[in-house]
């Protein structure tokens, strides 16, 4: 289990990284916690590897009232410790194990687009986005575009990034005022990819009415987002029925760890737990 040979590029700045990606058919290496296992198993054999670990300016995260922008080289553990976004922090604790999180990157997890991964669901439920950059050869400079989450996750292990694009950051919008969030999942072993998981954001309005949005992992081709809309007064909202709606929106598959029926059932159970927990938190935030 040794990686196949590849041409190695270690650009020092963003321009060089983008130019390299424009010139060669390259795979980007950031934390490597998903890519290197695939290389070691020879399930992937890119001709070129563009190691962005030396590119300056990609490691920083920026916190504003609008949300958190996480740089491409920000490691899971750093973002987790920064605790700048309650849902993101909670989700990060569910990503693999602490040692993997020391090296793995938040943006890398998004680009990897594993349907069983937590972070794509967080980005999706929050309506966040990924900032992609590419080198404009004609213009001789970088071009940026902001890809919303609903367009970013194209399919299993497939993002909307072009072959010459680099995801330079991701933006996780702050929770609206009066919001609570929760992430519930069931995995076989602690730290494994979830058999199914649901993250939910419940926002309690000034009038005491709850709006809810959920995203599921492990039960579709990508994060399955369900906007539950207005659910009535938070204390009397029909969480069970809402959870059923979430469950009905998913189309899980069977694999060696779980049947499709079990996964679908789990979504219902976890959605209700997540919604109730988020609502409780939202109500407290609203002071309701």
């Amino acid at each position: 289990m040794k990686p196949p040979p590849f041409e190695y590029h270690a650009p020092r700045d963003l321009g060089a990284a983008l130019r390299t990606l424009a010139e060669v058919d390259g795979k980007v290496l950031a934390g490597g916690q998903s890519l290197i296992p695939m290389l070691n198993m020879r399930l992937a054999a890119p001709a070129h590897l563009v190691d962005i670990n030396r590119v300056g300016g990609l490691g920083a995260s920026e916190v504003t009232p609008e949300g958190v922008r996480v740089g491409a080289l920000a490691r899971h553990a750093e973002v987790e410790r920064a605790a700048a976004h309650p849902l993101l922090t909670r989700a990060l604790k569910l990503v693999a194990h602490p040692v993997i999180r020391n090296r793995g990157t938040v943006v890398g997890s998004l680009v990897h687009a594993d349907p069983a991964a937590e972070l794509p669901a967080v980005l999706a439920v929050l309506g966040g986005s990924v900032r992609a950059a590419r080198w404009d050869t004609a213009g001789g400079g970088p071009v940026l575009r902001e890809v919303p989450a609903e367009e970013f996750f194209v399919g299993p292990m497939e993002s909307a990034l072009g072959p010459d694009e680099l995801a330079v950051s991701a933006f996780f919008p702050a929770l609206p005022e009066g919001s609570g969030a929760a992430f519930e999942e069931v995995s076989r072993r602690h730290g494994d990819y979830a058999l199914a998981g649901v993250c939910a954001v419940v926002t309690v309005g000034a009038d005491g009415a709850a709006r809810a949005r959920a995203a599921c992992v492990g039960v579709g081709a990508g994060p399955v987002v369900v906007d539950l809309g207005e659910l009535g007064p938070v204390r009397r909202a029909g969480w069970k029925a809402a959870a059923a709606l979430v469950r009905e929106a998913t189309d899980p598959e069977e694999d060696i760890h779980a049947t499709a029926a079990y996964r679908r059932h789990l979504v219902g159970v976890l959605a209700e737990r997540a919604l109730r927990n988020a609502a409780r938190e939202g109500a407290a935030a609203r002071g309701a």
Binding site: Y8, G32, I36, P37, H97, P98, V99, I100, R103
Partner: protein, 159 residues
């Protein structure tokens, strides 16, 4: 194509020529002869190859040596004091029978060393969470958990 890199391993700068695809685990073991770091799965799950990169535990089998050119790395060979005295973590593992075949042990020792540096008095749950990314096929973990608590005590006594 080979790359000339420098790794500061256990406090000593080591220059070495490696191909880009050389895993840090192989570089440490085969290029630098530091065979205390073990390789158990080469896909990042077992934790045997865990070393400290700038003080934080990482999987050396999921890291290319070239990527960490210039970095400071601590392996199991560097955990004991310069006088050869075993660290509190090492002593606690011996005292509590926290190892049997010893193959996973270097990964646990590195992980636990960092864990206690961050959190000198962890709770039982924090210990279990802290070592949850390392597989051991011999001990059933019970004595490893005991050893982590014992190491916390030894560290406290010595500082």
């Amino acid at each position: 194509m080979e790359h000339e890199i420098t790794l500061v391993v256990n406090g000593t700068a080591r220059r070495v020529r490696v191909p880009a695809r050389r895993l840090l685990s192989d570089c440490l073991r085969h290029d630098l002869g530091l065979t205390g770091t073990h390789v158990g799965c080469e896909h990042g799950v077992c934790g045997c190859c865990t070393v400290l990169l700038e003080g934080r535990p990482v999987r050396s089998c999921l890291t290319f040596a070239v990527t960490v050119d210039g970095a400071e790395i601590t392996t199991v060979e560097g955990l004991a004091g310069s006088d050869g005295r075993l660290s509190a973590v090492q002593r606690a593992f011996a005292e509590c029978h926290g190892l049997q075949c010893g193959f996973c042990t270097p990964g646990f020792l590195c992980t636990v060393t960092a864990l206690l540096a961050d959190n000198p008095v962890p709770t039982d749950d924090e210990v279990i969470e802290g070592i949850s990314g390392n597989l051991c096929r011999c001990t059933g973990y019970q004595n490893i958990v005991k050893a982590v608590h014992r190491a916390a005590e030894l560290r406290a006594e010595e500082t």
